[in-house]
Subunit: 337 residues, 2 copies
């Protein structure tokens, strides 16, 4: 069987099982607080909880140099990892970068890449701690971010029936940005800039992740695969189902403006928005809304049904069908992003 | 200017400067004990010294699937990182893996890759802490290893005039293995197995790194670029020069057997042996030799000359010339490995 037949999530399940068989209940291994399968790994260091996450961006798989600038690429390659630390409620501290570059890459472009990465690192006082530079047939950037967690970590597996579901910021901007750039849509300058930034310069919700922990939230994920796919990750690991009011989704206004009715689909399935999706008590949500400088929108609730099942409704309570549900690597038929 | 014109080390210098300009003497950044430019980054956590290192192996740049098995590839991709922790005298604890795979990759091959990685991880009780899996035009494995350091770390920059230079294990095996596999040499089965293992399954000198710290050694590097290139890294960062007796080099016996006089050149310039190269007091070397289960060979001394200059002599004290001096990414004219 080829990985394209098994799919990304099937492959991950297989590898997780292999590693668990080798390590679990074996003496001598340093223990985990959170192992494989959450946004970041976590373990107890001496007097502090350590967090670690890694993500790669590969040319013509995750980005195209025809549309993204090197500076944006530097920003994004760090942002997607900071977002994973945010989704644990942690504080990012150090980043390691492994850079694969074709021979003909311009040195000035590599400088721009680092300018973008440094620009974002500065906003969170993340120290770039070195890494590795080597030849590669395509541009490849792997960033590892290390941080510290609070006593309570945000997990994917803590959602309980009756929890309210909420998200930070707006959704669908990244999918619309990708569509606009791929199809070379000629939109108003302001909209072009907004969609481009949504796709290329996502702002990791580090402050919001810490705010969630402060207010007793224990379940969160960052939206990388898409709202629906990531909500399904929460529901599957928490063994619950969910009910979402699609009319409440905080669709990014320029997306609504350009795409009309299709905007909701982009918000549900688009992926790469890097907002936080979280669940918890309705009373905690109100406190978070009051204290957050970023919009926090309640969009549904956790229900007691088939694990991983998500039901969509409009504000009149009528069921809603959509076609696609998120992004998965190796699967050839992908959502209409 | 293209990266192939600037070269790997020139590019690293440029990026180090950019990062230093952005971060150094800026308030708010978490501090380093060791920043960019050593084998691993190090910083002070609460009550412990944290170590972190990352290295990528990319298909047809670092390895060919025509010659390496997936299991060997898994071993090697972890080994090169454990070796960096060893070169700091640290204890490796956790590994994160980012895996880029072409669609047509066989799932069984990915399992074999992990089998190889797990086999080595078990030897050092390193926990595989998850990572990232995605599509890629070529197989790409990036491993990050996190560990803890002792109070004293092995640095590249601590070599002093009068220090004795020593290495663990044997040299030249990896270069000979690459040559044998590339040229499809038909050698005796035992030699074939030895050279193949030297190249594909290097054994990281983790125990030896810790032993060096115990006996007061403060300068070490692991040999990845090649003995001469890595000794030059030590000499440049320590602002010293070195004198090496090539007749004392611990050339891997099968290499001497197959390559005769050329074996010494392979030991000097071959790279990827992942032995530790270190400097310190002659009296400490004797204690280390007595306690180490791995051969420790004294091969020269640190001298007070042009920083980075390395002079080679034979055991009669006559100067020796060799043609090449190590491996550097992006540079088209590479040593004759």
């Amino acid at each position: 069987m080829k990985v394209s037949e098994l799919g990304e999530f099937g492959l991950i399940d297989l590898l997780v099982k292999m590693i668990a068989d080798a390590q679990d209940s074996q003496p001598g291994y340093p223990p985990f607080l959170v192992g494989i399968g959450d946004d970041a790994a976590a373990w107890q260091g001496k007097n502090q909880t350590q967090l670690a996450t890694v993500d790669s961006l590969i040319e013509n798989i995750h980005f195209s140099l025809d549309t993204i600038s090197w500076e944006e690429l530097g920003w994004k390659s760090l942002a997607v990892n900071l977002s994973d630390i945010a989704a644990m409620g942690g504080v990012p501290e150090y980043a390691l970068v492994s850079l694969g570059l074709p021979d003909e890459t311009e040195v000035e472009d590599v400088s721009s890449l680092y300018r973008g990465m440094i620009e974002l690192a500065k906003k969170f006082h993340v120290s770039l701690a070195g890494g590795d530079t080597c030849r590669s047939p395509a541009v490849m950037i792997t960033v590892t971010v290390l941080g510290t967690g609070q006593d309570d970590l945000l997990r994917r597996s803590n959602a309980r029936t009756g929890d309210t579901i909420a998200v930070t910021g707006h959704l669908g901007g990244a999918a619309a940005g990708l569509d606009m750039l791929t199809r070379k849509l000629n939109l108003a300058a302001e909209i072009t800039a907004s969609l481009r930034e949504a796709f290329h310069k996502p702002f990791p919700r580090v402050a919001e992740g810490q705010l969630l922990v402060k207010h007793g939230i224990s379940t969160a994920i960052d939206i990388s695969d898409g709202f629906l796919a990531d909500l399904r990750h929460i529901c599957e690991t928490s063994h619950v189902s969910a009910r979402v009011d699609v009319d409440k989704l905080p669709v990014f206004p320029p997306v609504r403006q350009v795409y009309g009715d299709k905007a909701v689909e982009m918000a549900l399935s688009g992926g790469e928005d890097y907002e936080l999706l979280f669940t918890g008590d309705a009373s905690d949500m109100a406190k978070i809304q009051a204290e957050s400088s970023c919009p926090i929108t309640v969009v549904g609730e956790i229900t007691d049904g088939n694990p991983g099942e998500i039901s969509l409704f409009d504000s009149n309570g009528n069921p809603v069908q959509i076609r696609q549900s998120g992004w998965e690597h190796f699967i050839k038929e992908q959502p209409d992003r």
